[in-house]
C-alpha cells in the first residue's frame, strides 16, 4: 500500500476514533466503529495475508452489528443528534483527543524501534486507537461507551500486534473476544430490563 494511501487511512482512523469519543448518538458511534474496523483491516493487511486480515473486518462488523441491533430494539429514547447537548463537554473531549493525538505522534520515532517490521503509519494508527480508546475508558461511566472504548483499545493493539506475530489461534481468539465484547455490551444494555431472578 502506498504511503499516501496509508496516510489518508490514518487521517480517517483518527477522525473515526475522535468521532466515537465526542459523538453522543449511539447510531453514529456504531457506524463510526464499523468504519474504524475497515481501516483496522486495511492496516493489518499490510502485515498479514488478506485472507487472515479479513477476520478482523468480519469480527468487527459483527460486533458493531450486535451493538447496533441491541439498542435499535431498546424502548428508551436516545439523543439522535451528533453532538451532545453539552458543548463544553464535547469541546473538552475533542481537545483531549487532540492532545492524545499530538503526544502519540511525538512517540512514534521511539515506538518504531520496538515495532521493527511496521510502517510509521501502522504504529501511529495503532497507538492513536490505543490512546483514544483509553481516553474513552477514562472519561465515561456508561457501559456501552466503555465497551466501545475497549473495542477501540483492542483494535489499536491488534494493528500493532499484527506487525509482530501472525498466529491463527491468536487471530481467532481476538476475533471471538471482539464479538464477546459486543455481546457483553448488548447484555449490559438490556440487563436492567430483564426479569429479576431470584
Amino acid at each position: 500500500m502506498s504511503d499516501l494511501l496509508q496516510s489518508l487511512l490514518l487521517a480517517l482512523l483518527f477522525f473515526c476514533g475522535t468521532g466515537i469519543l465526542i459523538g453522543s448518538s449511539r447510531r453514529w458511534m456504531t457506524g463510526l466503529l464499523a468504519l474504524q474496523y475497515v481501516e483496522v483491516f486495511l492496516f493489518v493487511s499490510i502485515s498479514w495475508p488478506l485472507e487472515i486480515a479479513v477476520v478482523k473486518l468480519v469480527a468487527g462488523w459483527m460486533a458493531s452489528a450486535v451493538l447496533f441491533l441491541t439498542y435499535q430494539n431498546m424502548i428508551e429514547a436516545e439523543p439522535e443528534s451528533w453532538f451532545a447537548a453539552n458543548p463544553p463537554g464535547t469541546a473538552f473531549k475533542g481537545f483531549a483527543a487532540l492532545l492524545v493525538g499530538l503526544s502519540v505522534y511525538s512517540l512514534v520515532p521511539l515506538a518504531l524501534r520496538w515495532f521493527l517490521g511496521a510502517t510509521s503509519q501502522q504504529v501511529l494508527g495503532g497507538l492513536w486507537l490505543l490512546g483514544l480508546g483509553l481516553l474513552q475508558l477514562v472519561l465515561s461511566r456508561d457501559s456501552l461507551r466503555i465497551i466501545i472504548g475497549l473495542l477501540t483499545v483492542l483494535s489499536g493493539f491488534e494493528i500493532l500486534y499484527a506487525t509482530l506475530e501472525a498466529s491463527v489461534l491468536m487471530t481467532g481468539l481476538l476475533a471471538i473476544l471482539n464479538i464477546g465484547f459486543a455481546f457483553l455490551g448488548a447484555y449490559l444494555l438490556i440487563a436492567s430490563n430483564l426479569e429479576e431472578n431470584p
Binding site: 520496538w114 473476544l177 457483553l184 440487563a191 429479576e196 431472578n197 431470584p198
Partner: protein, 463 residues
C-alpha cells in the same frame, strides 16, 4: 480422548447446555453437585497416558489436546490443580442458597473454572492471558444479574483485566525477542516492567485495587465472594506457571524483592482499609486485598511458600464461603450492609453473624482459628527477610484484627430493636455453624491442611 477434553471441553459444554435450564434452579443445582463430584473423582482416579478399561472399551487418556498448532496440556502433575478447582466449585455450589443466588451462577461459574484451567494448560503459556479476558467477560455477566444495572466496580474490573491481558501479551512477545538477543539487559528490563504492569492489573495490585472495594460494596455478596476466591486463585496459578515456564527465574533476576514489596503494599492497604471501613462489603474487600498481599508474600518464598499459599487458598475458600452466605442471608434482614444498619444484628440473628465474625477473624489471623497457624508459618518464613517486611506484616494483621473488633462491636451493639424475622432456613444455619466448627478445627489441627498442601506443591514443583 484427552484430559483437556474431559476437564475443559466437557464441563464447558455442560455449562453451555445448562444455560437453557435456568428456570429449574433446584434441578440445576443438584445435577451440578453430581457433575462436580464426578469431575473431582475423575481428577483423583483417572489414569493418564495409560490404557484402562471403561465399561466395554479400552481407553487411553492422552494428556494433551492440539488446537491450531497450540497445545493444551493437563498432565498427571496438574491433577492437584484440577481437583482443587473443581472442589472449590463444588464447595460454592454446595453452600449456595438457590433462593438468594441468581440461577446463572451455576453455568457461568463452571465455565469460569474451565477457562481458568484453559489458561493454565495452554502452551505457550502467554496465550493464557487471552483466556483471562474471556473469564473477565463471564464474570462481568455473573456480577450483573438480570434486573440489575452493571455497577461501576464491575466495569472497572473489566477494564483492568483487559488492559492486563494486553500488557502480558506484549511482554511475552518482547520476552521472545530477548531469546534472540540474549544478554540484552535493557530489553529484559523493559519486558519485565511491562509484564509486572500486566500482572498488576490482573492481580489488582496497588494502585489498581479500587474495583475490589467497589464490587464488594455494591454487588451480590455471594457472587463477589466466589469471584474473589476463584479469580485471584486462577491468576496466581497462571502467574506461577508463567514465571516457571517462561524461565524468568533462570534469567538471574531477583524477582523476590518486587514480590515482597507488592505483597507488603497490598497487605498494608488491606489493613488500612479494614481500620476505616464502615461497610460489611468493604470489609470483605479489605480482607481480600490483604489476602492478595499475603499470597504474594507466600509465593516470594518460592519452594517453602507454596504449601503455605495453597493452605491459604483452602482456608480462604472456607472463610469467604461462610462470610458470603452469612452476608447474603443477613441482607434479607437489613436494608443496607453499612455498620449503622447492621448494628445489633448479632442479638437478632446470632448464628448468621457468628458466620460473619468467624469468617472474618479467620482471615484476619486471630489465634485459635484456622488462619493463625498458616499466617504464623508465613511470618516464620518471612523472618529471614528485612525487618520492615516483618513489621508491616504484623502491623497490617493488627489492622485487620482491629477492623474485626469494630465489626464485633457494631454487631453486638444494643440497638434496642426487636425482630421476629427469622433469617435463613435451618439447613443454612446448620451449614454456617458447621463451617464455623471447621474453621476452629483447622486452627487446632493445621497439620491436616499442611499435609495436603505439601503434596500439592510437591506434585506441582516436581513437574
Amino acid at each position: 480422548m484427552s484430559t483437556p477434553l474431559i476437564w475443559i471441553l466437557l464441563p464447558m459444554l455442560a455449562a453451555g447446555t445448562s444455560l437453557f435450564f435456568l428456570r429449574y434452579r433446584y434441578i440445576l443445582r443438584w445435577s451440578g453437585l453430581g457433575f462436580g463430584l464426578i469431575l473431582v473423582v475423575s481428577g483423583l482416579v483417572l489414569p493418564i497416558n495409560e490404557v484402562f478399561k471403561f465399561l466395554f472399551w479400552e481407553v487411553k487418556l492422552s494428556e494433551q489436546l492440539l488446537i491450531f498448532g497450540r497445545r493444551f496440556i493437563l498432565s498427571g502433575a496438574d491433577r492437584p490443580i484440577v481437583i482443587l478447582l473443581f472442589s472449590l466449585w463444588l464447595f460454592w455450589l454446595l453452600i449456595m442458597d438457590p433462593k438468594l443466588v441468581p440461577a446463572q451462577f451455576i453455568p457461568l461459574s463452571l465455565a469460569g473454572i474451565c477457562l481458568i484451567l484453559t489458561a493454565y494448560s495452554v502452551e505457550p503459556i502467554f496465550y493464557g492471558a487471552l483466556f483471562f479476558a474471556f473469564l473477565a467477560l463471564i464474570y462481568v455477566v455473573l456480577l450483573s444479574p438480570p434486573g440489575k444495572e452493571p455497577t461501576p466496580g464491575v466495569l472497572r474490573f473489566l477494564i483492568f483485566q483487559i488492559l492486563g491481558m494486553l500488557f502480558i501479551l506484549f511482554a511475552a512477545w518482547l520476552a521472545s525477542w530477548i531469546d534472540l538477543n540474549s544478554g540484552n539487559q535493557v530489553m529484559l528490563a523493559r519486558s519485565l516492567l511491562i509484564l509486572a504492569l500486566g500482572f498488576s492489573f490482573l492481580l489488582s495490585i496497588f494502585p489498581f485495587i479500587s474495583w475490589i472495594s467497589m464490587v464488594s460494596e455494591r454487588n451480590h455478596p455471594f457472587l463477589s465472594g466466589y469471584i474473589f476466591n476463584t479469580y485471584f486463585l486462577g491468576v496466581f496459578l497462571f502467574g506461577t506457571r508463567f514465571i516457571l515456564e517462561g524461565g524468568w527465574i533462570g534469567q538471574g533476576l531477583d524477582i523476590q524483592l518486587p514480590f515482597q514489596l507488592a505483597g507488603v503494599i497490598m497487605l498494608s492497604s488491606g489493613g488500612l482499609i479494614a481500620i476505616f471501613s464502615k461497610h460489611l462489603g468493604r470489609l470483605m474487600g479489605a480482607v481480600i486485598i490483604a489476602e492478595i498481599g499475603r499470597s504474594l508474600l507466600a509465593i516470594s518464598l518460592f519452594q517453602a511458600g507454596f504449601p503455605i499459599y495453597f493452605g491459604m487458598v483452602i482456608l480462604q475458600s472456607i472463610s469467604l464461603g461462610v462470610w458470603s452466605i452469612s452476608l447474603t442471608q443477613l441482607q434479607q434482614g437489613i436494608h443496607d450492609l453499612d455498620f449503622q444498619s447492621a448494628a445489633g444484628a448479632a442479638r437478632l440473628w446470632p448464628v448468621i453473624t457468628s458466620g460473619l465474625l468467624l469468617g472474618y477473624f479467620t482471615l484476619a489471623g486471630v489465634p485459635l482459628l484456622g488462619g493463625f497457624p498458616i499466617y504464623w508459618a508465613l511470618g516464620s518464613g518471612l523472618s529471614f527477610y528485612p525487618l520492615w517486611i516483618n513489621s508491616i506484616f504484623v502491623l497490617s494483621t493488627l489492622g485487620l484484627v482491629y477492623g474485626g473488633l469494630r465489626l464485633l462491636g457494631v454487631l453486638t451493639k444494643n440497638a434496642g430493636e426487636e425482630s421476629i424475622l427469622i433469617l435463613a432456613a435451618p439447613s443454612y444455619r446448620y451449614l454456617i455453624l458447621g463451617l464455623n466448627v471447621l474453621l476452629v478445627l483447622i486452627g487446632f489441627l493445621p497439620q491436616l491442611i499442611f499435609r495436603i498442601t505439601r503434596t500439592i506443591s510437591d506434585l506441582l514443583l516436581g513437574s
